[in-house]
């Protein structure tokens, strides 16, 4: 917005001068584009160049315009400087607000009573806890009165309200049950949260003793203490939660960032794609205000998408194999991809595939048996490699039909594929996977 005002005033300055109009427009364009981001800098420069050329022309044509040209030249230089600055500092042209080192003398000193009233958070080591205590028995009573209507008499949760107890050793299961007992790493969190944010709708009404008692009762509901237990500010930091060692700090940078960076695949990135799941809820908020409407359509009713003939520079698919994917019926490849679900637990394919409990299977056709770097094969595979045996269609079909018979002593714990159609489909699919 600032820039458009700038360009307007510029117009007004220059318009009256004959011949200067084109220049003014060029400069205005440059300025108007200033906030348009770093990637536009190059085109800005082009325009600046054009404007400069026009300055030259104007100069030669009419000497009485020389003064104007000079002024414009300065303007252009200024714009260029701004553009350079924006290129070096990212395109965010926002200037940092100034900051007085000495401060502004605003606000007033907080009084001790005010800090005491608001600063009630509790740290994991127990700092911040007020003095007090409460036992399981008292806790049960207070909980029944103030908490059970939502969280249940035994902290088991009513309807959709949070469950506070149980769920031990479910964290590695599908749908883990995360409760105060099974999941929370610090007791301070329980004390702090209950004291400050519960009961829901009546927060900040519990006394310190009531809170100690309730927390003792929640521990009891989780079988973490017996019914004699009393919690106080004195024994608080002795207590270690069940899942205290269960947390690690964000490891996405090491786990994922490097692996998920770089130039991604643009063509033939997969041989085929099909729909494996459709939306569960079709009409999420129906107009009549009722429940969301479930979807009953089947995935079988949707088409399979297949890669076009692998191009010369096609990523991933069908390179370096004897019969390129383009000559195989794409339907069969798609069927093979489905069969491969049986192998997925142990084998990976595709860009960056790693060895799992079985070796990666990229570019398998024509590959020497037992030859994947860094994978520990059984003896029979080591021997096959020594003999220089190579995977082809016949070998693969025989191996996958009866792995243990074809490769006596193999450690591939897989019974084999029974159906001929599955065998030809998986062969076609693995053929379509390049190196």
């Amino acid at each position: 917005m600032g820039s458009s005002r700038m360009s307007k005033s510029l117009n007004q300055i220059v318009l009256p001068v004959a011949g200067g109009t084109a220049l003014a427009v060029a400069v205005a364009l440059v300025i108007a584009n200033l906030d348009y981001g770093q990637n536009k800098i190059s085109s800005l420069e082009r325009r600046v160049e054009q404007a400069s050329q026009q300055v030259e022309a104007a100069n030669q044509k009419a000497s009485e315009e020389a003064a104007v040209s000079d002024a414009l030249r300065t303007q252009i230089a200024e714009v260029q400087a701004l553009a350079d600055k924006s290129a070096s500092g990212g395109s965010d042209l926002t200037e940092r607000a100034p900051q007085s080192e000495a401060g502004y003398g605003l606000g007033r000193e907080a009084l001790a009573a005010e800090i005491a009233a608001w600063d009630v958070d509790v740290l994991p080591d127990g700092r911040g806890l007020p003095e007090g205590s409460g036992d399981v028995f008292t806790g049960e009573e207070v909980f029944a009165e103030k908490c059970a209507s939502c969280h249940g008499d035994f902290a088991e949760g009513v309807d959709n309200w949070p469950v506070l107890a149980g769920g031990f050793d479910t964290l590695a299961d599908k749908d883990p049950v995360k409760t105060v007992g099974s999941y929370w790493p610090y007791l301070s969190t329980v004390w702090d949260y209950v004291h400050r944010s519960m009961p829901f709708g009546e927060a900040q009404t519990l006394t310190a003793d009531e809170t100690y008692a309730i927390v003792a009762y929640i521990l009891y509901s989780n079988d973490l203490v017996d019914d004699e237990f009393e919690l106080s500010h004195e024994n608080f930091s002795d207590f270690e939660m069940y899942n205290q060692a269960g947390f690690i700090v964000d490891d996405r940078p090491e786990r994922e960032y490097a692996q998920w960076s770089g130039e991604p695949c643009m063509e033939n990135c997969k041989p085929a794609v099909e729909i494996t799941m459709r939306a569960t809820f079709l009409d999420v908020t129906p107009e009549d205000g009722g429940e969301s409407v479930m979807n009953h359509a089947a995935t079988e009713d949707t088409p399979t998408f297949v890669a076009k003939a692998a191009s010369a520079d096609g990523g991933g698919a069908a390179e370096g194999t004897e019969s390129p994917a383009s000559q195989i019926d794409p339907g069969v490849i798609a069927a093979g991809e489905k069969v491969f679900k049986k192998c997925k637990a142990c084998h990976a394919v595709g860009e960056g595939a790693k060895n799992k409990s079985g070796p990666q299977l990229n570019g398998l056709m024509g590959r020497t048996m037992g030859s994947v770097e860094g994978f520990k094969y059984s003896k029979v595979f080591v021997a096959a490699k020594g003999e220089g045996r190579v995977w082809d269609e016949t070998a693969l079909v025989e191996f996958l039909a009866k792995p243990k018979a074809y490769m006596k002593g193999t450690k591939m714990a897989f019974a084999g594929l029974k159906k001929d159609t599955d065998l030809s489909a998986i062969t076609a699919y693995l053929k379509s996977i390049g190196e």
Partner: protein, 423 residues
Amino acid sequence: MEKDVKTSRRSFLKGSVALAGGTVAGAAVAKEADPLITEVQDWASLTGVGVDEAPYGLPISFEKDVVRRNVEWLTASPISSINFTPIHALDGTITPQGCAFERHHSGAIELRKEDFRLMINGLVDRPLVFTYKDLERFPRENHVYFCECAANTGMEWAGAQLNGAQFTHGMIHNMEYTGVPLRTLLNEAGLAAAGDLKDKWVYVEGADASSNGRSIPMEKALEDVLVAFKANGEALRMEHGYPVRLVVPGWEGNMWVKWLRRIEVTDAAVESREETSKYTDVYEDGTARKWTWVMDAKSVITTPSPQMPIDHAHGPLVISGLAWSGHGKITRVDVSKDGGITWETARLGKQGDSKALTRFYLDTEWTGEPMLLQSRAIDETGYVQPTKDQLRTSRGENSVYHNNCIQTWYVDENGVVENVEVS
């Protein structure tokens, strides 16, 4: 009158579909003159509404569907719950406040500017209390940032669930904030008492009943965190923390504490409920991951999408969507129409905004072929938005938060769009 318009639109559609078959490209041909043009319409004859009618204007009634929506059965109570921005119906990048998603843990509260107090205490030289008026006297800055709930797209961990970009990706908004840098306020209180700032934290909390406390490393607090009191030029809405909220650029929405009341400098993370019980994720082996603050690069196609089917004839089609990254700028977005086999690079509406939404467009042709639409964002660090498979391979299937997967929309031959998952 509304009905008339619809009918004439439909017959227009029929006309052009018929054309699309045989003739070479070109505009459709009308058989009869359009009464909207040949007949004098009421609005062209009678007068309209006066300037005293709407001192604060709302969208015209025809847009009444473009609203936040919540899904009742998702949570126990609408007071501790979430609703979703209608991103499918918006364009550009700025989210109007009135339809920007809300998430609160004990309801939105009404707090007058006069009753607002902000305390800074803990390891500072002078514990201070500011009024709202005090905040307005510090030098301030304007920045556009996205705010995304860490649980955005969370339901998709369990596979394709809710049918609509609003529901899969609508826990996000993007506004221009006006506020005072947090570093200015910390400097006002003095950080000498904190000593070495490297291992220090600020603990921030709200004035509402949930208090929603979070710990933020000092480095971030001094970098770009804002104490904001305006959004898109006007006062914050109640549901976004009026009169003052924290803005934590690029980091999960839960840290953007609303109705901000206290900032405490500490020597350790408080490990509050919102950073232990919630906003943490469990890996396949049961280990939990905490302090996942940054929102990784992500994108979604907003049109076409389940709530925005293709309702026009074959021919030109604009595919459009949003991309963002908590690590900085979006440098590129690719779009696939075949579920990730082939990709084309989209056009960015406006480039270079850091930690803000970037709009992208793919101006293309559609002739009724089924499509599996996907978009893939790349940010200035070179990070490429991952597929669902990549995420599940890395983290297992028990996560709740931080699902930045590539989303797939299935478009059938009639232009109907559905949320699906693909191989």
